[in-house]
């Protein structure tokens, strides 16, 4: 096995690289190798109970930390302006800060760069909603200060023609807690790379995700949690459902526990549910341990089918096929979503998935 946290290859990916082998490069509208002519979209902050938001020149920010792939580095370099959301030290707000990114058409290339700084001891929730039609290369950089508790929920509810390459990198300070929920609900090609590193001991990262891939869509999540500090925790759980011909999801969960990261606790799991024939879910958990002293480490991956026997069972209890499928999908996702999202956000995510369920005709036998 290669060292999973190796620096990414310099230069535009061709599709032969390990990290790009699943991605349909030809459908990226060139985002992988050039962002010329791209516009920097204004990231709109809708509500912000405590956070301060400012646009700053990207040059004034420190260099990106953590591994960064070529297309993300290109987009970062070309984003002259960055939106910086600062959550003041020791502030505490249950009301989420809401950020939206709205696409207005797939033909123009858009770059965004958002920095979220949760200062020491703060507690807050940020909800970023992505909607519309877009060709986007996005960087989100997150700093969770010492003792801070930050939740970031990213909802990618794109129109079917959207292309989105996204990097989301979080750095956790001492005893920091970072919770992330990524919901990718549509788009032609969406490839999200959530990565986490720890700058001090005691950090705790919970990374959750849900995704729904429809016919012809490619939905990819590649996670990397880099345990380089002692006594940190990470817990990763992603669930995906797929429906329709050529629906394809990719989930890669890389966790590395370096020699100094003694006392690490980590667990990662990916569950996929195939709702129809013709859909494919690739799922690859990787756990690399370089110390003999971990507290616990594990991973799991399952891909199952909602099959005719389950449908028969539910139908035999009077439940019509449409409701049966809704019941199964809702049950599959709800528990995970509600671990992090409040009722309103959970309703948005589940509602959006249920809408898509109606898209596929129920044919005899298969559902």
């Amino acid at each position: 096995m290669t060292v999973i946290a190796d620096a990414p290859v310099a230069g535009a990916p061709t599709g032969r690289e390990e990290a790009w082998r699943f991605t349909p490069i030809a459908r990226l509208r060139g985002l992988h190798d050039s962002v010329e002519g791209a516009v920097g979209a204004q990231v709109a902050v809708v509500t912000s109970p405590v956070a301060a938001f400012a646009h700053v020149s990207t040059d004034s920010l420190p260099a990106a930390s953590g591994p960064i792939e070529w297309p993300a580095a290109l987009a970062r370099a070309a984003s002259t302006q960055s939106g910086v959301l600062t959550i003041p030290a020791h502030s505490d707000s249950a009301v989420p800060t809401r950020v939206t990114v709205t696409g207005t058409g797939a033909d123009s290339t858009v770059l965004t760069h958002l920095v979220i700084v949760a200062e020491r001891g703060s507690r807050s929730v940020v909800v970023i909603t992505h909607e519309g039609s877009i060709t986007l290369s996005a960087n989100i950089e997150i700093q969770v200060g010492d003792g801070a508790d930050l939740t970031v929920i990213s909802i990618h509810d794109w129109a079917n023609d959207s292309v989105h390459l996204g990097r989301q990198h979080a750095v956790l300070g001492r005893d920091a807690r970072f919770r992330s929920l990524i919901a990718t609900l549509g788009g032609d090609v969406v490839r999200i790379v959530p990565t986490v590193e720890y700058s001090a001991p005691g950090g705790d990262a919970e990374l959750l995700g849900v995704f729904f891939a429809e016919a012809g869509q490619h939905i990819e999540h590649r996670l990397l949690v880099d345990h380089s500090q002692p006594h940190c925790r990470s817990s990763v759980a992603y669930k995906g459902a797929l429906q329709g011909d050529g629906a394809h999801s990719v989930w890669i969960g890389d966790v590395i526990i370096r020699a100094d990261a003694v006392g690490t606790e980590t667990y990662e799991i990916n569950r996929n549910l195939l709702l129809t024939e013709g859909a494919r879910a690739d799922s690859v958990p990787n756990l690399e341990i370089e110390t003999g002293n971990v507290a616990s480490a594990g991973h799991a991956s399952t891909t199952g089918r909602f099959d005719d026997e389950q449908l028969f069972y539910l139908q035999a209890r009077g439940i019509d096929p449409e409701t049966a499928r809704r019941l199964v999908v809702r049950g599959f996702f709800a528990e995970l979503v509600s671990r992090i999202a409040d009722d309103e956000v959970a309703a948005h995510i589940i509602g959006s998935i249920e809408e898509k369920l109606g898209d596929a005709p129920l044919d005899e036998g298969t559902i």
Partner: protein, 254 residues
């Protein structure tokens, strides 16, 4: 009063090995309030009959009819049959991951009754029904049949029978795999429904163990895809004592 009528039923199944006729002319009439038992050797087609009544898509009716109060059942979808009042307690209930028992039962009850029960009433009703079948309340939050033991699955089937109160219920080997105490609990559950409603019951079983708890006034012997003998409780005792030998190769009754 309702009548479930099965007439000259021929059913085939398509498998990798080709098309095969499994039911070869079944005649059976069950009226409200009656309890019938079917006994027959392994592989004779008992579960096929049960699944065909429920409408499992693997089984194709090629001849004959199933009617409920004169209304054709064969052309109904699976869920329509359930809503019409037919219930099958399955021999091998399947797991439905991701769906909790409480959510499943409420959805099912809503579909069958035509309206959602009020949440407070429902929680009470569910709690009482679970207690009556000695089902641990924790099961409400578990996923349907997931990790249930064989006996727990059977109890869960009867819990549904109790909540759904169908007009006719087919119980496919509900007794198999149950220990002595569980058998009593399950039989009491069925008997409660029999006393409270005028349900018609078809018990599929291999032993008289269940029939001692749930008396059936009609007993039918099922061999090779058809009923070959009809009688009362004494027929069950005879089978338990001497097996099916005298029925093998017998012509169909009726």
């Amino acid at each position: 009063m309702s009548i479930l009528n099965i007439h000259d039923l021929h059913v085939q199944v398509e498998s990798d090995a080709g098309v095969r006729e499994i039911l070869r002319g079944v005649d059976l009439t069950i009226e409200s309030g009656q309890t019938h038992a079917i006994m027959g050797p392994n592989g004779s087609g008992k579960s096929t009959l049960a699944y065909t009544i429920a409408g499992h898509p693997k089984y194709t009716v090629t001849q004959g009819s199933i009617t409920l109060d004169g209304v054709d059942v064969v052309s109904m979808t699976v869920d329509e049959r359930a809503r019409a009042g037919l219930f099958l307690a399955m021999q091998y209930p399947v797991e439905v991951p991701g769906v909790s028992v409480s959510n499943f039962l409420r959805t099912s009850v809503t579909a069958i009754r035509g309206e959602a029960p009020k949440l407070r009433d429902w929680l009470k009703e569910l709690k009482a029904a679970m207690a009556a079948l000695s089902v641990d309340p924790k099961f409400a939050e578990r996923n349907v049949n997931e990790g249930f033991s064989g006996g727990e699955r059977k109890r869960h089937e009867i819990l549904q029978l109790d909540l759904l109160r169908p007009r006719f219920a087919v119980l496919d080997e509900t007794d198999s795999g149950l220990d002595v105490d569980a058998l009593k609990v399950v039989a009491e559950g069925v008997n409660r429904v029999r006393e409270a409603t005028d349900i018609g019951v078809l018990l599929i079983t291999h032993t008289t163990r269940l029939l001692r708890e749930i008396p059936a006034e009609f007993v039918h012997v099922f061999v090779d895809g058809r009923i070959v003998a009809d009688g009362g409780p004494e027929l069950a005792d005879e089978i338990e004592a001497s097996g099916y030998e005298r029925f093998l190769g017998a012509p169909a009754t009726s």
